[in-house]
């Protein structure tokens, strides 16, 4: 009966407009949600519990504002919700060290997380936490099976590979074939009453610091044409102006 941990992170809604004030991103008026791939991680964790028993603990590292997504995870069906109190500007070394300590303290045997967070886009946390714990890891999985131990499907050189993974392990989840479940009324009621366990764990100092944020350079206005016949002109430009073909 595995002790299952799922990592969830709060990020700006992917529809939100990102504003830069001075030289920093300003998220003060942005709606925050659970990072989209983390929903697949929660789903996979719940499927693992259904197949093998055990309990699922959702863990986030962040400020008190991040508790909403823990409640969202609770409403979908995780057993326990834990927040590791932290301010957000940590480098990957500090964050992963913190998460590895938390997983150790919670006695986790398998950790699911998103393939990448919608804000960083990095995909560093899963493999980094695994290495710090000395565990196996598989990233970007698109399917999972739990018969006779964990096996996952991942893209691999021109196809997909089905890979068996010894536990303990950290698995990062892509969208793949997972259909995420929606909370039901009972789940939502339970989530309302649920209390968040808050831990504080010391992290090493960060050595990578943010210098600045900027909006992407505006693209010069492109050329536009009416009617399908213009495709001939565009093909020529691709060769002569863009030097692509």
């Amino acid at each position: 009966m595995p002790n299952i941990i799922v990592l969830v992170k709060q990020v700006p809604d992917t529809n939100a407009k990102i504003v830069v004030t001075g030289d920093r991103v300003d998220l003060s008026s942005v709606k925050m949600v659970m990072s989209p791939y983390d929903e697949f991680a929660v789903e996979t964790a719940l499927q693992h519990r259904e197949a093998a028993g055990g309990e699922v603990t959702a863990v986030t590292v962040g400020g008190a504002g991040a508790e909403k997504i823990l409640k969202d995870a609770k409403a979908i069906g995780v057993d326990h919700i834990v927040r590791i109190d932290a301010d957000d500007e940590m480098d990957s070394n500090a964050l992963q060290t913190l998460i590895a300590k938390a997983v150790g303290e919670l006695g986790g045997e398998v950790v699911y997380c998103g393939k990448s967070a919608a804000d960083t886009g990095a995909g560093s946390t899963g493999p980094g936490v695994a290495e710090r714990m000395g565990w196996a890891s598989v990233s970007n999985i698109i399917g999972a099976g739990f018969d006779g131990g964990l096996s996952v499907t991942m893209p691999s050189g021109g196809g997909n590979a089905k890979v068996s993974v010894p536990l303990p392990a950290v698995i990062s989840c892509d969208k793949g074939g997972f259909k995420v479940r929606k909370p039901n009324v009972k789940g939502i009621m339970q989530a309302k009453r649920a209390s968040v366990e808050v831990h504080s764990i010391e992290a090493p100092a960060s050595t990578v610091s943010i210098v600045s944020h900027a909006l992407p350079p505006a693209k010069p206005a492109g050329k536009s044409y009416e009617g399908g016949a213009a495709a001939a002109e565009v093909a020529k430009l691709l060769r002569d102006e863009a030097n692509i073909l």
Partner: protein
């Protein structure tokens, strides 16, 4: 001079050409680049010659026969000198970068698109902003392709070192892709279709053009969700693949923010859409307001003529 270590980007047991771009990135960081080639046979490192590195190290191990994060990180850590490490930014290389950084107790910076002195810039918030960071001490940096010019010259002979790493996972079964098509994540040119293609059968028009110009075929999420025949592996965007090709041709795709998240950094974008107000046109270098039924045959004929 400090050392910068470049891990060669491998594809089918050969050194991928983009490795020479990684050497340029290493030079931009100011180090003397050592190129480490993960291989099972030393001859696989031959392709690393004249890619601008000061030294080439063929790291030979059975652990490199299939990708396993912990095995690869251990085997490379054992032979790569200390210093900042540069990798490619394919999904596998980013995974390796993170694992290697953690093994050395340092931070990882993913998807670098610019390096200036100590400052490293990457897209964040799905490309809606750029983040510049600076590091004190060594880090591992993954660098996107098509950003740096390929380095040239330098060492041509590799020294061979044996290494080993414990492989944790094992492949039970390999399922080859149904089609032999190029994957969007690996392609330099991508032609993608959206819901505007009307039916999955009409993707054959995109495939025909892809075959002519050596492109991969991609899709929007609406296309993937609507039609069983369009697999998720083709999806470009925030919950699909992030791509960075030289040319991206979007056909019958509106240009929703989540689609843009996956392809807006493409060097050139062509949009074909019947709606002049479709948001994709704001990002297109060349926009054609027309139905695909009208535009694709003309495009295909012109491209055929040019490719000879």
């Amino acid at each position: 001079m400090t050392q910068t270590i470049v891990i060669a980007e491998m594809s089918n047991n050969t050194v991928h050409a983009s490795t020479a771009e990684l050497v340029s990135a290493a030079i931009a960081l100011g180090g003397e680049p050592t190129l480490v080639v993960p291989c099972t046979e030393a001859a696989q490192a031959d392709g690393a010659a004249n890619m601008g590195a000061a030294n080439i190290l063929a790291a030979k191990s059975a652990a490199f026969s299939h990708y396993d994060a912990s095995g690869w990180a251990a085997a490379l850590d054992a032979v790569a000198p200390q210093g900042t490490v540069i990798t490619g930014a394919s999904p596998q290389s980013k995974d390796l970068a993170a694992r290697l950084a953690a093994r050395r107790g340092v931070s990882v910076i993913q998807d670098a698109i610019a390096i200036q002195g100590n400052n490293i810039t990457s897209p964040v918030y799905s490309g809606k902003a750029m983040q510049t960071v600076s590091a004190t001490g060594p880090v591992v940096v993954s660098v996107r392709s098509n950003v740096f010019a390929a380095a040239q010259g330098g060492a041509s002979e590799a020294s061979v070192v044996d290494t080993d790493g414990n492989v944790a996972t094992s492949v039970q079964e390999f399922m080859a892709r149904a089609s032999e098509r190029l994957d969007v994540a690996e392609a330099n040119i991508i032609i993608s279709g959206g819901r505007g293609m009307g039916s999955p059968d009409n993707f054959s028009h995109l495939e025909a053009i892809a075959d002519t110009i050596g492109a991969a075929v991609g899709a929007s999420r609406a296309a993937v969700d609507t039609w069983e025949a369009i697999p998720h592996s083709m999806q470009v965007g925030q919950t699909g693949k992030t791509v960075n090709p030289n040319l991206y041709i979007a056909v019958g795709i509106s240009g929703a923010i989540q689609h843009l998240a996956g392809m807006r950094s493409s060097k050139y974008i062509v949009a074909i859409n019947k709606d002049a107000d479709a948001p994709i046109f704001q990002h297109a270098d060349y926009g054609i307001v027309a139905t695909w039924e009208e535009a694709l045959p003309v495009l295909h004929e012109s491209l055929k003529g040019m490719m000879g």
